[in-house]
Symmetry: C2
């Protein structure tokens, strides 16, 4: 097999890079840190996009579109916001090129210098709250429940396909509310939407939690997050939902007349997930043969490969396969019939395994005769022979089973790699071994940073679903009210 | 009515600006030339996006995503391409901001200057063909049929919402082929897709044609286009499809082994439509009461307004309306029940007229009693009383009739405002009067530019569906083989 991957055990990081390339998901471009999302990778993203978009609309949100550029002065209006983003900004300074007077090519026309520099949006709170000022006069104009699908740019120095790229695709919800309670409810609601999407569509178990002050979004009062475990035990933040308080309303002077006819600042949330989720999807489920896709986000759910040797056999097998394809499509399944005659079946098997197609069917002359078909499931690599009679129902049910199995497998993996520790030695050992560590923390940024310095573990979140429990900080020995999760992270 | 528009007759241009604002479609942002597409405007764009995306996929195309940035040196690789875009480029020169050492705010960190400037894509031929070089080795890798949905930036000096903005949303198809014939067929096929979309979905009659050399896309061998007439008689280019020959393959050294095992340059097309179509949609159909939407792109097809005076009446009327809403939604219609109690029915009527909802239903206590409902169609402003019995079928059929009527109205308008002229005096008079003028042209750029200089009319296209006809150029008196279309244009 030409497309062999580095194994996970050999080199997890290289395995990921190999897989992204060999499954035709994405590649690096000529522009530093920017990726090309290839058609197969983009098709998966489209399924994620469409499912999320439906969920946003079902929860009352509408889409809109705001400018790519943010005036430099806007960024500095919210103090912690600019601090968070200033060091990774793509800055537009000129608006024209001209022929190089010294010869070939073009140079930037110095006369086209902009009066004020523009930043390519790293996130859109500032330009959106500048716009909302004109949309909001009274409580009757609230809530505003807007989402935007867009590209954003953060000038990262060390990039990895999907996980950390200078440009990425995402959605950013920006909502405006009359009361603090309503905004908090919205932020929590969207966290639930993200968790449901991750678990039901991506088959990705997530932990819902609150970020520590140190890990909070630049400009937020509270950041909620979902955290997932990858197969190397590292955490990946899969989505965040921020309660922004009145920070941006104050920075952009967005006031409204409340029901008591008094002027007040508007309350805000923002929330986003990005093409980073593609990285999570790949790393959570895939194996040494390639991608493993949950059926709900698989561009192809079933691939059919014909097997024949002679021309005589060919037509009968192809007819048989085409008929199966049509029957499955009638049931609403996404089916690919791989009838290329330039490749052998073995090559095709390996290719579709690499691309993570959940179910593969293969049929040869004997299958035509016996009215059977060979079925291979990608998640377990099991093969079985099934009768073509009633195969639509069998395969439909199997796809649901596969979806659930992939989820359960990831959940078991996380459980097996999660520990509660109460001593600093245990803490260090388990972090070193790639575990999610539930440990007591004294609540200070100081301790959090020292732990990070000594172990490279970050405080992933304060889990929302856990009970309070008195204890002692594993590092500082100071009192603690609850356990939090530490892990190494992407 | 508070939301009154400037009439078309009074000031067509102001009418358009008023309408875009008052129908809540878009507004100018704080960033020069960049617009905010508001939720209602964006919802219409989503219908256009989804319909086009389906059509692209049905014709074998897949989506992908390429970087926002283009290295400056890439732009200059295709000579006419850079000439076409150099004067309107947003140029990224730095990657960091820093605190202003002199006081408040932030400044661009001079140490973060990029080695090579990046251009925010005005179109993506260059970055895509740089990528295709690695994708294409042999004829087996062809064709590549890729589309991208993206934002692009062209630093326009004079901007208008939707029609001409510095940033706009669009799709750009970029295909690669083994032969000239196949590429030409593709370019023509996508022109047909655009024409079908415009006519069937947007109810916008279009003329398919070829651009003159002077109006050709920068880097194309041939540019096909669809041209539509607006209600002031001006033309609007609603989509273009380019046959690029081997220009970009040569500029980016993209060769392939053909079936004869010889190296050859790859043949290319590109094709695009943008949020400019929103401008066309608005200007082609709307009237002095506001937007008129063809049902197929209407976010709301039917709006229901309850009418009552007393609290006693209220509940019965609301129940009656809700039931109608549910029945219509069961038929797959997009229905809004406007149950706001903060606004009177007259206000609501005007608002939904402004927003172009194709069908309005209004029901009061007498309707509840008589099992009737008042129906108003937006395109003709006719009102009628219909029985609630069987109203789903009536309204479904009516929506189709409205779609067709809007198309026929626009088609009639174009026919009524199209003339064939054979003298220069007639030419000037008719251009002045806002007509599409079919005239003989000698085929030279020189004549084309002189005509433009004297009349402001541009050569819209050489129509594809017309017969050849010998004649004499209306301006130069030189011989001509066919008529072409001149008009003033957006």
């Amino acid at each position: 097999m030409a497309k062999e991957l580095t194994t996970r055990q050999e080199n997890y990081s290289q395995w990921y890079n190999d897989l992204v390339t060999k499954a035709d998901l994405a590649e690096n471009s000529a522009v530093r840190g920017c990726m090309v999302i290839k058609p197969y990778g983009y098709a998966i993203w489209e399924f994620m996009h469409d499912a999320l978009d439906r969920m946003f609309k079902q929860t009352g949100h509408v889409n809109a579109y705001f400018p790519l550029f943010i005036p430099k002065s806007f960024l500095s209006k919210e103090a912690s916001h600019v601090e968070g983003f200033a060091k990774e900004c793509a800055v537009v300074t000129h608006s024209r090129l001209m022929s190089n007077p010294n010869g070939n090519g073009v140079i930037v026309d110095p006369e086209s210098k902009l009066e004020e520099e523009l930043i390519v949006r790293p996130t859109s709170e500032t330009i959106i709250w500048d716009t909302y000022r004109n949309w909001i006069k009274s409580y009757r104009d609230l809530p505003i429940l807007v989402n935007q699908w867009a590209n954003v740019v953060r000038w990262e120095m060390r990039t990895r396909l999907f996980l950390r790229t200078a440009e990425f695709l995402w959605q950013e919800g920006h909502t405006a509310h009359a009361t603090k309670e309503e905004a908090l409810t919205e932020a929590r609601k969207m966290l639930e939407v993200y968790a449901e999407f991750a678990e039901k569509h991506m088959a990705l178990p997530v932990i819902k939690g609150i970020k520590s002050a140190n890990e909070r979004f630049a400009g937020a009062v509270e950041t909620f997050c979902i955290e997932a475990m990858m197969q190397d035990g590292k955490a990946l933040q899969a989505g965040t939902s921020h309660f922004l308080g009145q920070n941006f309303a104050k920075a952009f002077d967005v006031k409204f007349l409340n029901k008591e006819n008094k002027l007040d600042y508007v309350w805000a949330t923002s929330w986003g997930v990005s093409t980073r989720l593609m990285g999570a999807l790949i790393m959570a489920h895939s194996d040494d043969n390639g991608l493993v896709l949950p059926p709900k986000v698989a561009p192809i759910e079933v691939v059919i490969v014909p097997i024949y040797k002679t021309d005589d056999q060919r037509q009968a097998v192809i007819n048989y396969c085409v008929e199966m394809k049509e029957r499955l499509e009638k049931k609403g399944l996404r089916v690919k019939f791989d009838d290329r005659d330039t490749q052998k079946p073995g090559f095709k098997f390996a290719e579709w395994e690499m691309k993570g197609v959940p179910v593969r069917l293969a049929a040869g002359p004997r299958d035509v005769e016996n009215k059977t078909v060979e079925l291979a499931r990608r998640d377990t690599m099991e093969k079985m022979e099934i009768s073509e009679n009633g195969m639509e129902e069998k395969i439909t049910a199997l796809l649901e089973e596969i979806q659930e199995n992939i989820y359960q497998k990831a959940l078991k993996y996380r459980k097996d790699n999660t520990v509660r520790v109460d001593t600093w030695d245990d803490f260090k050992k388990n972090i070193e071994n790639g575990k999610f560590v539930y440990a007591h923390w004294d609540g200070t940024t100081e301790t959090e940073l020292k732990i990070k310095e000594e172990t490279k573990a970050t405080l992933r979140c304060i889990p929302l679903d856990d009970d309070l429990e008195d204890g002692i900080d594993v590092y500082s020995g100071k009192p603690s009210k609850r356990r939090v999760i530490f892990a190494k992270a992407y």
